[in-house]
């Protein structure tokens, strides 16, 4: 990972801290730290070190204290317009960067209110030309700019609760160091998590224990009237905690239950308790039995088909947490505080649900996995695979990339680790560029069956050159494994190539720690390995592959 730090204070300390954090989280980093206060120079000079270095990320940390000094230099009469001119300067620099580094991501901490000057005390909101008024406005305008930009990401400059000071004014005076080392450590860890999320590592599912985690008391002993939920006992805290979990679910995080309980009894609060916020339909997989939690978690992981390192397990019992941690490497098991009233504040502070994308599709996910559970039940009652696939009544559309899907397509390239032939990550703007480039053949596949719609589940990008074609990207959601989607897509690809007069298709498997699943994909698609992990086929010799999916047109 190549990272550049730009800033208007002594950023060497930040650089050191960022390097440490990357190492701590097992990420490689190559870092270039621009000299103090050279941001404009680095960005405007096309021969600058910034452009020679070609970073993946720019961390552009503008110290609020530095900006405040600039504010005081501004003529009093012009101060009401300070936020506007700050924004137009910042965004024009951003667009310069975009021109020369189209795929770079700029992480820009917003301005911290700890640098309020209290010059107008609490009257600031009545005075447009006050510093506090302008800082609030800058932060608002930064958000608005971030919302519509593909490469500019405004991030939070403030920890959720700040017990430690953000600034040591002795260090400001002596070394132009505007932030304490402990604050810079916090900021570095936040950035590592963002970078991890960009490269596809983020939390996708929360598995919840029930007794004393979702409510107070033990349902098997206390009964539905006896558990603490709502106005009873510490019940208010559990209700608030559940509301937050429900919001997480609405954002697209999958909720599952794993509890040592009798299945029927464990469901009672979900069905009958009036104060219960989470309902059965919010839970994608519900497992309550007396087996070990490690086994049950393995079962949940299998159904959801995601890596353990994207699963968070929440349990009030330290012994259970310990066992799960020992048996399942990679799974995230937060050390929940003893007091249930602090479950939620603790999780908020930990920020374990960092994300770098959001689309309406995300909130559909729970329903899709519930359908998957139903399908699994069906597949266990049908032993003949042909019959099973036929019984699903599948149909699919295959289209070249369309504007409304850019976000979702880019998300698939970011998120998919397993069924991903070459693991090339693309931003939304990259996808837009590919879609409008004639030398690419693109394919977005949407699948539905008798249980419901899957949405966009597979993406193929083929690079064309002369009479040859190369597979650049082949991704499929693991929810539709073994459905012959890839066969249908391959038939389609070869048809199009044939029409275009292209004779040879090349493919390549790039192995990662997670994509062993597609090691034999190209061979399964009828291609021949001519060199290690490199494959070839001519459109003439291709034999159509069997598929159980009805072609529903190009949308």
């Amino acid at each position: 990972m190549k990272v550049v730090i730009l800033g208007n204070y002594a950023t060497q300390f930040f650089a050191k801290s960022l390097k440490n954090s990357f190492k701590l989280y097992g990420l490689s980093i190559e870092l270039y730290t621009a000299e103090f206060n050279t941001t404009e120079y680095e960005i405007l000079d096309e021969n600058s070190q910034l452009y020679k270095f070609k970073p993946d990320y720019i961390v552009w940390h503008e110290s609020t204290l530095g900006i405040r000094d600039a504010f005081y230099k501004t003529d009093t009469l012009l101060r009401s317009g300070f936020a506007d001119s700050y924004l137009s300067r910042t965004m024009s620099l951003v667009s310069e960067v975009q021109k020369r580094l189209p795929s770079v991501k700029i992480l820009f901490p917003n301005h911290s209110l700890t640098f309020n000057d209290n010059l107008f005390g609490n009257y600031f909101a009545k005075v447009e030309s006050s510093w506090r008024f302008q800082v609030d406005k800058i932060n608002y305008l930064l958000n608005v700019s971030s919302m519509t930009s593909n490469s500019f990401y405004v991030i939070s400059s403030s920890p959720v609760d700040t017990l430690e000071p953000v600034t040591d004014y002795t260090q400001v005076a002596n070394a132009e160091l505007h932030f304490t080392l402990s604050y810079l450590t916090w900021m570095s860890e936040a950035i590592v998590k963002i970078v991890q999320s960009f490269s596809g590592k983020f939390t996708k599912c929360v598995v919840l224990d029930l007794d004393n985690t979702l409510w107070g008391g033990i349902i098997g002993d206390d009964g539905v009237e006896g558990i603490q939920l709502g106005s009873h006992g510490v019940g208010k805290s559990f209700v608030r905690f559940q509301k937050w979990l429900k919001e997480l679910k609405n954002r697209g995080i999958i909720l599952a239950v794993c509890s040592k309980n009798d299945d029927q009894i464990a469901r009672i609060p979900f069905l009958e308790h009036p104060e219960m916020v989470l309902k059965m339909e919010d839970i994608a997989v519900f497992i309550a039995n007396w087996q070990s939690k490690a086994d049950n978690l393995a079962q949940i992981q299998k159904i959801l088909n995601i890596g353990f390192d994207s699963i968070v397990f929440l349990d009030d019992n330290p012994a259970e947490r310990d066992i799960v941690r020992k048996h399942i490497p990679g799974i995230i098991v937060p050390e929940l505080p003893e007091d249930p009233s602090y479950y939620l504040p603790f999780l908020i502070k930990e920020n374990i649900f960092e994300t770098t994308s959001f689309s309406a599709n995300d909130s559909e996910r729970t329903r899709q996995y519930q359908e998957e559970s139903k399908r699994m039940e069906l597949s266990s009652s049908i032993t003949n695979m042909d019959d099973f696939l036929n019984s699903l009544e599948m149909s699919a559309t295959l289209t070249s990339f369309g504007r409304p899907d850019y976000e979702r397509i880019s998300q698939l390239t970011q998120r998919s680790n397993q069924f991903n032939l070459r693991t090339v990550r693309y931003t939304t703007s990259d996808i837009a560029n590919i879609a409008s480039d004639d030398s690419f053949l693109t394919l977005a596949v949407e699948l539905s069956d008798k249980f419901g719609k899957y949405g966009l589940i597979s993406v193929v990008i083929i690079k064309l050159s002369g009479t040859d074609a190369h597979i650049d990207t082949w991704i499929m959601s693991c929810r539709v494994l073994k459905r012959t989607v890839e066969h249908m897509a391959m038939n389609h690809v070869i048809d199009i190539l044939h029409e275009k007069g292209i004779q040879t298709l090349y493919g390549e498997y790039l192995p990662t720690a997670k994509n062993k699943l597609v090691e034999t994909l190209l061979e399964d698609l009828g291609m021949t390995e001519y060199e290690n992990d490199k494959f070839i086929i001519t459109t003439e010799s291709y034999k159509k592959l069997k598929t159980y999916i009805k072609y529903a047109g190009d949308n």
Binding site: F13, K16, T170, Q171, N174, A175, L177, L181
Partner: protein, 76 residues
Amino acid sequence: MQATIDDLIPVFRDVLENDKLVILEATTADDIEEWDSLNHIYLVVAIEKKFGVKFTTQEIQGWKCVGDILIDMSKK
């Protein structure tokens, strides 16, 4: 608080990442290669944290040698 050169040695060795480092009260930043302006800040933070003291801007600017640090610590 009363601190001696022996109390400071482990802090200097730790921050400057040199286990064999020897400092005397008369030692200055010029005497030690690793003691640059960057590490100077880390030294201040480490001493403040370890001994629970806070130096003023003027005190830090007034330091000419290790002994000056000890003198300022003795005032806390």
